[in-house]
Subunit: 200 residues, 3 copies
Amino acid sequence: MLFSVLDIIGTIAFAISGTLTAIEKRFDIFGIAIIAAVTAIGGGTLRDMLIGNTPVMWLQHLEYLYIVIATIIVTIFFRKSLNKLRTSLLLFDTMGIGIFTLIGIQKGLLIGLHPIVCILLGTVTACFGGVIRDTLCNEVPIIFKKEIYATPCIIGGGIFFLVQYMGFTQNIIYLVTIISIITIRLFAVRLHWSLPVVKL
Amino acid sequence: MLFSVLDIIGTIAFAISGTLTAIEKRFDIFGIAIIAAVTAIGGGTLRDMLIGNTPVMWLQHLEYLYIVIATIIVTIFFRKSLNKLRTSLLLFDTMGIGIFTLIGIQKGLLIGLHPIVCILLGTVTACFGGVIRDTLCNEVPIIFKKEIYATPCIIGGGIFFLVQYMGFTQNIIYLVTIISIITIRLFAVRLHWSLPVVKL
Amino acid sequence: MLFSVLDIIGTIAFAISGTLTAIEKRFDIFGIAIIAAVTAIGGGTLRDMLIGNTPVMWLQHLEYLYIVIATIIVTIFFRKSLNKLRTSLLLFDTMGIGIFTLIGIQKGLLIGLHPIVCILLGTVTACFGGVIRDTLCNEVPIIFKKEIYATPCIIGGGIFFLVQYMGFTQNIIYLVTIISIITIRLFAVRLHWSLPVVKL
């Protein structure tokens, strides 16, 4: 229950950011729809293809499509206000990252994968929708250069297994994981943290 | 029977357009082969990976490869004449789109997916070969900006289920679907229809 | 045994070249890790998704990740010396191509695919890590334009089945295949062979 509410919030957050990106790029409405959908469900789709969980989630659960379509329409209508709110939207986006990491970890655990690859699956779920979006928009994926996206996911994934190991209940594990990812990411953005670049 | 003849026509049409694109880009013959193959079988490959129909179709049915390879060779030989005929080639390309949409819908129905996702699978089959081609050529996919590709597929998919619901035989359903997609697309190109762009 | 030693060498070789590419592109350390990983395991991942061998290999065998991570760290430390050695690194890269082609062929044979598609799977395994890397770096994949990558894989694949047909033991088949791919590629690079470009 908690889980599906979270999943919906994450999908909406990512679909909003995808729609705004595609509008900026001056894509037509089909292009907007694809970019919004790829941002919102691309990471989960890649994860499902990697683990062989097919047909991938949005082919089996139409809710994803309905949510994405509804979000696109609402976002197009309120695009001016939403675009001004973009810094506030960061919070949604960050919630999406936290939630999707958790979902990816869970999917990995369900089929008995090792914790380390579960953390990677969580990171793929959270970050690769954006990678596919940027690649389709013919840009170098932003997560390779500017912002801290993946690091909070990886640290949060570590915290997940730490808290689980300490024997807490599932809901507590979930909340602690999401809250740590959100906290680390917001700090990172606020304090302009960035990962070191290696010079040749 | 009708089905496989159509599939061959679609594959040839897409392989021709992929070959001509790669020649324009001055790729070497290996690059040409990859781009032609991706255009012709990339959409179906992505569809098969999404639904878990693996090994994907061209690994099981070698006809696809033979058709693509033969088409590439013939296209390279007659590239000058074919390039001049490009507007006439539009008809082939459009037939390919109609046919591939139908095939994608059928594959979805075969594994019991919901009509809405079947229509999306048809659209992926018809349009994503071109998306992958453009991405590999380091361009923004043309279908996000200039031409109406996906709209005819989606409308044609709707018509498929409408005609099926009305109880017509399979061959009629197939023909009506393909003909509507082709008609809509040709009108769209002729009358310079384009999807609205949303301004920020 | 021979097989896994070869696989490790190939993975290390590709991870080194991926790391150096990402450093040149001034990606942060997360970007470096992704590009190195994609170069080293992207081809095998795509192959596994195409044939439905899921969860894909690195989700089941953590050795791949450990090797990639260790290689990245060592490469970052010794980046200046390694970068100077780049022409010598070509040998490693070429060994990687030979080895990965062989592994791809084997995976196809294991599930009973036709020799022709086995050769293609070998080529995908060897070459598509680089294609995905270049696409993510927002460049036209180098193998479409400049260097002979795929041709040695395809010829080597043909030699594999020829030698097998002649009844040699497995280890001999393996060695002959890898050595022919390496030889053809090194000659191609040395003598500046390139595939013909088709002019319009």
